[in-house]
């Protein structure tokens, strides 16, 4: 609440943030239940602004609906986000499958009941100009979606295994000179980040790291995609 970022709530609700700021604010919102409650209250006002503007006399022409339905018939829907129950089941299965678990105890991290609403990531994943890459890794599938129009790339870890107690996935931009950490992702999270010209020669890299985050990648990359190929 006292966080400096919280002052961006008004601009956020009015869609008055740049895409990168918006994505960052949504991450903040995901970690701050009080902020989400504040946002929900003020959304009433934004909804009233929307309703006022939505009241115009515009009627969509019939061809619009016809074209849309033709497109919809050829467009697959996103997979549902895995529920908490299924995540725990997956975790149990992973524990059962582990041949050697020293001490035999696999800690179950408290998973938050209410997930953040990562709408920027989903907007990137469903952008009209999106290019998606499904990448198979040792931990499962990662979906990387690029929207050049939005200058953003989204990484969806819904298809990855739980990284385990104290561990998380970390996203990076890596080039010859440096490794810039972008975001930490726990199981099943999605994140969007800006891609600018400075990333031209960099690779987008995902590694598994301690959940406090690392300064540099400390494990073998699960994915490493040159920006030029996104």
């Amino acid at each position: 609440m006292t966080d400096e970022r919280h002052s961006l709530l008004g601009p956020y609700l009015l869609d008055a943030l740049e895409p990168a700021e918006r994505a960052e604010f949504e991450q903040h919102l995901g970690a701050c239940p009080d902020c989400r409650a504040d946002a929900a209250e003020l959304r009433v006002a934004v909804a009233a602004l929307a309703e006022d503007a939505a009241r115009g006399p515009s009627r969509p022409p019939a061809r619009l609906g016809e074209q849309l339905l033709a497109q919809v018939r050829q467009t697959p829907q996103l997979a549902p986000t895995r529920s908490r129950r299924r995540r725990l089941a997956a975790l149990a299965a992973a524990a059962a499958a582990a041949v050697v678990v020293a001490g035999g105890v696999l800690g179950v991290r408290a998973l938050s009941e209410d997930d953040p609403a990562p709408t920027t990531a989903e907007a990137v994943m469903t952008a009209p100009d999106v290019r998606s890459h499904e990448m198979s890794t040792t931990e499962g599938m990662v979906r990387v979606s690029m929207s050049h129009e939005m200058h953003m790339v989204a990484v969806d870890t819904t298809g990855l295994a739980d990284p385990g107690d104290g561990m998380a996935y970390q996203l990076w931009w890596v080039d010859d000179a440096s490794a810039d950490p972008v975001a930490m992702l726990s199981e099943g999270e999605r994140v969007a980040t800006e891609m600018t010209s400075e990333h031209h020669d960099a690779d987008l890299v995902l590694t598994m790291e301690p959940d406090s985050g690392s300064q540099r990648p400390s494990t073998a990359p699960l994915i490493a995609i040159p920006a030029a190929e996104l």
Binding site: A16, A45, V46, A47, E51
Partner: protein
């Protein structure tokens, strides 16, 4: 002119049901959802981008997004209608910002709109609007009203709003937030609380 539905209508339960079926891949339900919400989406998009052809494209893009995201919709951000209008506004704002050249025109149009609060459609909609959010907008301070109007109806970022109004960033951020809080209080008092 058909009757203006109360704010937050029509029938949230019905759209929620349609949304659930759409999430299961039911194209007929999606079609009904489109019929229910398309006019509102098109109108909102048009208000922000001001270009009818572009507003139609946005309408298609938004509904395609609704179709794709339906299995992940959790209803945390209010009713289906509110969620769809949120997607619409975001997309419209992105489009406005992408077309740099037309910005000035849109700003001017939005400014006119804020000052002469009644727009062209006001004649048709009559008193319904004036007792709603527009009357509430009138109750804001000028700086709150302009900050909200330039952001919401002209698609400016808060930094652009600050520059335009010759104010600091903290002032604009605060006015937006306080203005929204005041607007919410006013809207809730006047009854028709949108969900």
């Amino acid at each position: 002119m058909h009757a203006v539905p109360p704010v937050g209508s029509p029938a949230p339960d019905r759209t929620a049901g349609l949304m659930r079926r759409t999430a299961g891949g039911d194209i007929a339900a999606f079609e009904e959802l489109y019929e229910e919400l398309a006019a509102a989406v098109l109108s909102l998009a048009r208000r922000v981008v001001r270009d009818p052809a572009r507003a139609e494209e946005i309408t298609q893009e938004v509904f395609l997004q609704v179709w794709r995201q339906a299995p992940r919709y959790r209803g945390e951000e209010g009713s289906v209608r509110t969620w769809v209008l949120t997607l619409t506004h975001r997309r419209a704002v992105d489009v406005v910002r992408a077309s740099e050249s037309s910005r000035r025109r849109e700003e001017q149009a939005a400014r006119r709109e804020i000052h002469a609060v009644a727009g062209p459609e006001a004649d048709a909609v009559l008193a319904a609007d004036r007792v709603g959010v527009r009357r509430c907008l009138d109750a804001l301070t000028p700086l709150q009203r302009e900050s909200i109007g330039l952001a919401y109806y002209a698609g400016l970022t808060y930094a652009q709003v600050a520059h335009r109004l010759g104010r600091g960033l903290p002032a604009v951020k605060t006015r937006m937030r306080d203005g929204l809080a005041r607007l919410r209080d006013c809207v809730e008092q006047s009854g028709g609380t949108p969900r």
